[in-house]
Symmetry: C2
Subunit: 369 residues, 2 copies
Amino acid sequence: MKIICNQSELVSALNIALKAVPSKTSLPVLECILLEASEAEGIKITTNDMELGIETKIDGRVDAGGKVALNAKFFSDIVRKLPDEYVIIEVDGNCTAYISCGKAKFTIAGQTGEDFPRLPEVKRQNSISVSQFTLKEMIRQTIFSISDNDNNKVMTGEYFEIMDNELKVTSLDGHRISIRKVLMKDNYTATNAIIPGKTLNEIGKILSGDTDKNVSMYFMERYVCFEFDNTIMLSRLIDGKYYNVSQMINSNYDTKITVNKREFTDCLDRALLLVKESEKRPVIMDIRDDFLSLNMNSSIGNMDEEIAIKKDGADLMIGFNPRFLMDAMRAIDDEEITIYMTTAKMPCFIRDVEETYIYLILPVNFNTR
Amino acid sequence: MKIICNQSELVSALNIALKAVPSKTSLPVLECILLEASEAEGIKITTNDMELGIETKIDGRVDAGGKVALNAKFFSDIVRKLPDEYVIIEVDGNCTAYISCGKAKFTIAGQTGEDFPRLPEVKRQNSISVSQFTLKEMIRQTIFSISDNDNNKVMTGEYFEIMDNELKVTSLDGHRISIRKVLMKDNYTATNAIIPGKTLNEIGKILSGDTDKNVSMYFMERYVCFEFDNTIMLSRLIDGKYYNVSQMINSNYDTKITVNKREFTDCLDRALLLVKESEKRPVIMDIRDDFLSLNMNSSIGNMDEEIAIKKDGADLMIGFNPRFLMDAMRAIDDEEITIYMTTAKMPCFIRDVEETYIYLILPVNFNTR
C-alpha cells in the first residue's frame, strides 16, 4: 500500500475516527484504526468499538491499494506532530508502515487488519435529513438528563421519534424529562428508536454545527446510521420499549413565573457553591408577588437572594435540586424563561409557548425553616 | 468587623493567597485564610502552609476592625461567583461572616483565627531588587531541573547567589545543571541561599511578568522574603551546603554545533512521541559534516530526521534523554542555539556567548546499530 495525503486532513479524519476507539477492550485489534486504500474507494479509515463504528474518507492519492491496522493512539500522535505538508504512508508485506513527511521519517509496526470487525452494511432507505446544527443542538439540549445507570438500559439512551415532519428527542433519568422538537422540511414515515447516549455524545462532538450542511439518518432494525461530510457513524440501538412520556406532560398550572435567564442562572450558580456531593440540599424558591427568593442552606453556609419576576397565579414555595434547574437553563437559548408549577409536590415545567422545548423537573421535599 | 471592598480586587488577592493554603494538613486552621482589618493597616489576607507564608493587602474601607479565619476554598469560591460590585463582609461575635454583594447574601461560619500561626517578622535589610519579569523568567528557565526526590533536600531547591551586581540561579538534579545569570543595577553584599522549589514555583505563578515593576528580596538567616505590589511571600530556606557547580563547568569542546531552535525542537517533539515512561531510550544525535541526524528507536517505532547545522570541530555520535534537551530548548529564547561537546561520554553544554544561560546535560549510553 502507498498513499499520499494532506497532514491536516489526515488529522481531522483521525480526530473523528478516534471517537470509536475503545479505551479498554478485550479485542486488541479494536485499539487500531483500519486504514484502507483502493482505486475505487480512495482512502478510508475505520474504527469500531462494537457499539459504535465510524468510517471516514480522506482525499488523497492512492499509488498502491491495500490495508493495514495501526495502533490508533501511536499513529494519530505521530501524524498530529508532523508538519502540515504531504504525508506519504507506505506499508510493506510485513505490515510495517513507513510514514514520511518533510524530513521526518517514522516506522511503526502494523497488523494485517484481517481480524478487524467489519461494520454492518447500511441500508440507505428512508433517509431523514436535518442540518448538522439542528442535530448538534438537539443533542446538547437533552443529553444531560439521560441516566448513567446501566440497570435501566432504556434510560441511558435518547428516544428519537419521527412523525410526519416532526423530529422529537426525549431523555429522562427518573427525576426529570427533557424534550426537544423541530419541524423538518419534508414528511417522513413514522419511525422511532432509542439511540445510546454514548453515540449521541460522540456525534455531538463531531458534527460541525453548520446550518448549511446536512446529516442524513437511516434507521434500521438494530442500527442507526448518521451520514455527513465524508463520514458514516453506525451505532447499535438500545433494545426495549421507551416510557410513555406524553402522559406525564400536561399544560395545567397554578403558578406561572417568567424570569430573566441570566439573573436566574447567576443565582443558581452561587447556590451551587454551597452544594456538597455528599448532601443533597434543595434550593428553595419562595415565589411571592413579583419576587422570587432563592434560599440555599447547607453545612458550608447559607445563601439568600431575591430576583424580580413576572408572576401569574398563586404564591408558592417549592424546592428543587439546583443542578437540575441549572442543566435546563444551560440548554435554553431564550433570554426570558417561563416556569409552570402547580403545587410543591408536583413537577414543574419549563417550556416555551410553541413547546419546541419542555423540561420537566420533579421537586424535592424540604422543611420550612 | 465590617469591611467593604471591590469584588475583583478581593478575587485577585485571594488567588495570590491561595498559593500558600496546603491541600492536606494536620492543622485544620491552615485551610483558612486569615482576614484582618484595622484602621492602621487596612485589609489584609494571610495564609501559611508552614513552609511558605503569604500576606497580601486589599484596598477597601474598614468600618470596624477585627479578624476572622474563613475556610479558604469555600470563601474564595463564593467571592469568585459574586457580581463585580462592592462586597460587604461583616463578622459577628460568633465569627459568623455575612457576605453581601448586589442582591446576593451568603452566611458562612468562621473561626476566631487566634490559633492561626503568625508569619515570622521580616527584617527589611539588604534588599535586593530585580524586575518582576526578570525573576519570573529566571525561575521558569531553571526550575525544571530541580529534583523532586526528598532524599536529597538540597536538590529540591534552587541556589541563589548574589555577588556584586550579579544574580546567579542554579538548579541540578544529578543528570543536568541549569544556570541563569543577570546583571543588576546596583552592587550588593555577597549572599547565597537555597530556596525551596515549591516557593519558586508559586512565586513564578504570582509575579506579573512586568518589566516596570520590581520585586525586593530580603535574605534572612532561615527565611527569604519576596515583596512586590501589595504582597509579601515569606519562605523557609533549605538548610545545607550546595554543590560546587563551578568546578563541573568548563569551556573546552571538540565539537560545536549551531542549530535552529525551532527545527531542533520540532524534531525532538516528534522523537518524544516514541518515548514510553517505562523505557528510557535516548535520542541519538549523529553529527556529520553540516548535518545532524536524529534517530529514536523504541518499542513503539522508529524515527529518523536530519537537520542542517553549522559545525565546528570533529564529527560525533552522542545520545541524550530527549526530554532533557527539550526542557533546555523551552527555556531558551534565542532562535539559534549552540551546543558544545567533547566525547560521547562527557556532558554537553548549551550556552550563549555571554553565558547568561548554561545548560549542562549528561549523555546517555547507547548501542550503535
